[in-house]
């Protein structure tokens, strides 16, 4: 069980959180024309890197805030977490 530092609440066990996937995906702007290929890339395709991954977590059994984490997918090391409007200290 991972130990994750919520940027609002501090360190908590993984069972308080739910995983939200790749945090670098940007939703296309509402109302803008978009090709089927670009839209499909947004909806369906994600990279599955071995190593550092910027991802979303939701403190669902806590403060209910979404935030970003930088985690190694192979070792589970979490390098940093930050609020949505912040950048990692790297």
């Amino acid at each position: 069980m991972l130990e994750i530092k919520c940027p609002y609440c501090g360190k908590r066990s993984q069972n308080e959180f739910s995983y939200g996937g790749d945090a670098t995906v940007k939703r296309p702007t509402l109302g803008e024309e978009i090709s089927t290929e670009d839209w499909d890339n947004f909806v369906y395709f994600r990279d599955n890197p071995r190593g550092k991954h910027t991802e979303l977590w939701h403190h669902v059994s806590g403060c209910r805030q979404w935030f970003k984490a930088s985690r190694d997918t192979a070792t589970h090391e979490i390098f940093d977490t930050c609020k949505m409007n912040e950048a990692f200290n790297e």
Partner: protein, 999 residues
Amino acid sequence: MSNAYRTKNSTGLINKNKKINFSFNGHTYHGYEGDTLASALISNGIHLIGRSFKYHRPRGFLGVGVEEPNAMVQLHEGNKSEPNIIATEVELVEGLKAKSQNCWPSVQFDIGEVNNLLNRFFPAGFYYKTFMWPKSFWMKIYEPFIRKAAGMGVAPLQPDPDRYEHNYEHCDVLVVGSGPSGLASALAAAKNGARVILAEDKANFGGSLLTDEVTIGNMSGKEWANDTVAQLKSLPNVILKKRSQVFGYYDHNMTVMIERVSDHQENPSKYTPRQRLYYIRAGEVIVSTGSIERPISFGNNDRPGILLASAAKEYMTVYETLVGKKPIIFTNNDTAYSTALEFLKNDITPVILDTRNNSNGELVKEVKQKGVNIRFNSGIADTKGHLKIKSAVIGELDKDKENFTNLENIDCDCICMSGGWTPTVHLSSQAGNKLKFNEEIDAFVPDKKRQRESAVGAANGSFTLNQSLAEGFQVGFDLSNKFTDNNIETNTPNSKEPKYEKHERLWCMPLPQGKKPKRFIDFQNDVAVSDVELAIREGFRSIEHVKRYTTLGMAGDQGKTSNLNGLQYVSNIEKKIVPEVGHTTFRPPYTPVTIGAIVGREVGSHYLPTRKSPIHNWHEENNAVFVAAGLWQRPRYYPKESENMNDAVNREAANVRTNVGICDVTTLGKIDIKGPDAPEFLNRVYTNAWLKLPVGKARYGVMLREDGMVFDDGTTSRLSENHFHMTTTTAQAANVLSHLEYYLQVVWPELDVNVLSTTEQWSGIAVAGPKSRELLSKLFPNIDLSNEGLPFMGLVDTNIDGIFARIYRISFSGELAYEVNVESNFGLHMWKKIMDVGKSFNIEPYGTEALSTLRIEMGHVAGAELDGRAVPFDVGLNGMVSKKKDFIGKRSLSKEAFTSEDRQTIVGLVPLDKRTKIPEGSHIVENDKVASPVPKLGHVSSSCWSVEYNNPFSIAIIKDGKNKIGKNLFAVSPLKDISIPVEVVSSHYVDPDGERVRS
């Protein structure tokens, strides 16, 4: 015979004043307080405890603790029965019942032993090779046969009656193992002010200090251990846990420990759990788990009575038990001589065989001085004795130690073997530590750590007491400094122990000439030297493959005594050094853990939390039959007298259509939405338009996922300019909230909106039926409930008995209906009030079944239709999709596959005979007479008995549904083996124009 095998001196930890009776295989014996099942049996002269896994060979005790591979027994009887328990880990308790497993009819005479005579037909990989074909035989014939024949113990069929608890415990430093290095590091860390947990698997703290004759400071090892434990006990920042095994090391320094709380108690109190599972997220973990002695492989080295020299010593020193009276000690190193000295204390002179050419170690000298003849350069070739060792064939080794010379047979009743020591690196390895091979001790030790874990003492390959203590004090102090500023360092005391000479690198004896007795490496999995040879001959090279092919080091044992000997043998054959061969992965749990302990209290109704509406008790009192809706308990129907479910549901539903019904809808998800951008947000979340919804009005909305599938639906109402009340389905309430939060926090943080779950703040009561208006007008005489005063999709706030109530005119049943919302605490009050006034209108409560009937008849979609595979078009919700604005998932709807005309869409079905109910999940086919596979048009999602037309009615999702209306098809249920001719009709079966809700 009784207790004939006890030592002369009572210097161990046995209380001879307290006799304990127990039974083994139906015979009654006694032991004493402080005994384990193993020591009590051995003291009664019993070594034969079970049969081996594959060949059913008679087996006895090899070890004295967790390392024991053979002595697995079935404990207790009935629902408390438990298989595969290691007898060396069971503390004796009055009335304990144990029996051998894997034998029939008895452990002395076991039919399965024929496998041993046929052993040349059961080589490694036997099962893989033999039971390959015919394929169909595997499930029905081979697999059950093998299971029965190669069984371990038997799991009870009844539920486990014992209680198990889960705890979270916290500390700066967790110390695993209480030998010299563990005690030292715990003391150093604790004195420096760190919060410490010290965990010891056994019933006594001290580890090797309880068996070794050493001096620390001016005390014996045992005294120093007791003194250190007393000091630790006096410190408030220390938790001492004995009978506690840390069996798993997971990510981010999460360790899991099992404590045997009451297994050893004769009459535990009713509320004491049997075992407790601890989750400990430690700041630092000190692995002081010691080391395990290595066996030696020689012919028939698995007979009962052949055991590890260290085990024999611990049986004597701690359990005051003699493993035999005519011992042979067989070793490649000095430590086994301490076992010889213990025998000598009991006036027993062992025969000593040492593979080495000589040794001048201090213990060796001491044994020599006592006049014992030591046979150097000697070994054991083979043994005899069926159910217990009777004699050994011994001989001198030639110069290369590859052959025996001068074999002779000598009598014995036990053999104590020692092949040196293996550091217990399991926890470090589980933590991700890359182990390295230490050639000085011929074993793997922890190297580069991945987590906050430090091995000390024997577990780190430091085999002398001096090293162990120094490491323990140093590491304990250093690590505690990370957590405190005290900087209090504890001095390492001086210590004295015998000096040892080096072991010999020899763990497998040559075969006696012309014979091929089995030389076992892995006792638990019945893997012999010949099996490893075969695996390599057949081309398995990777050590992981050799492991799986031979089963070496697998299962509950995790190779505690076998791993290194197996690797060593592979490296000998391959002419490689051990580090090149590598090692297999150590996996948790380190020792077997009862499933009940892992499950804890989360059994039966405690498996998940139960949610009840504030009106729940009323439902109970009124004979409701409940159904789980997610975590919620909802009334399913309210049977009267002899009514069955169908009768009750039809009565309840019909009463809504003709009079008025009342339904508890508290479980619907409710979300409060506030903020200046709330209308814009809803406009993006829902498929329809929201900007112009007037205050005081509700609107039905559908939301999609980005992939275009319908996610949820419900009504949302505008309470004021910037304040909305959203309802969701019961099942999706939590997911919808997370979904909204995701878009507000991650995607559109510029929107000024707040969302908050208010599901539990409101109690909702649906009042539905043609008489609902009359009823509520009587209850709320001050408000205008006429069609003009409160039109469909309107809402009004009011007061009754000083309670705030909000009345929505919304309907799920398709009838004229209202939903009264009050604060949860007043839910029951309001419900009773409505029931009271409703009496004169023939009001009756209705449950989820009638609710379903009503919505199915009306063609309203619910979870069964919105199953994550439907776009709005499929379920008749196309009218809800705005063409003007963009919203979540809209772009997906224009994808080719989602606009195809022949998609499966919603229709109604009526059986041609108007009688046969159509099972949900049935397949819809055009022709049920053609050979399978029959082309499938779709499936039945929901079925009911239409109370309006008094015949069955179903909703189905079928290919090109709209154009199939009026056609006859078949609903086929292969599960129920029926085929029902049906007519396709509109899904809006009752009141298709929706006149009633607007009346």
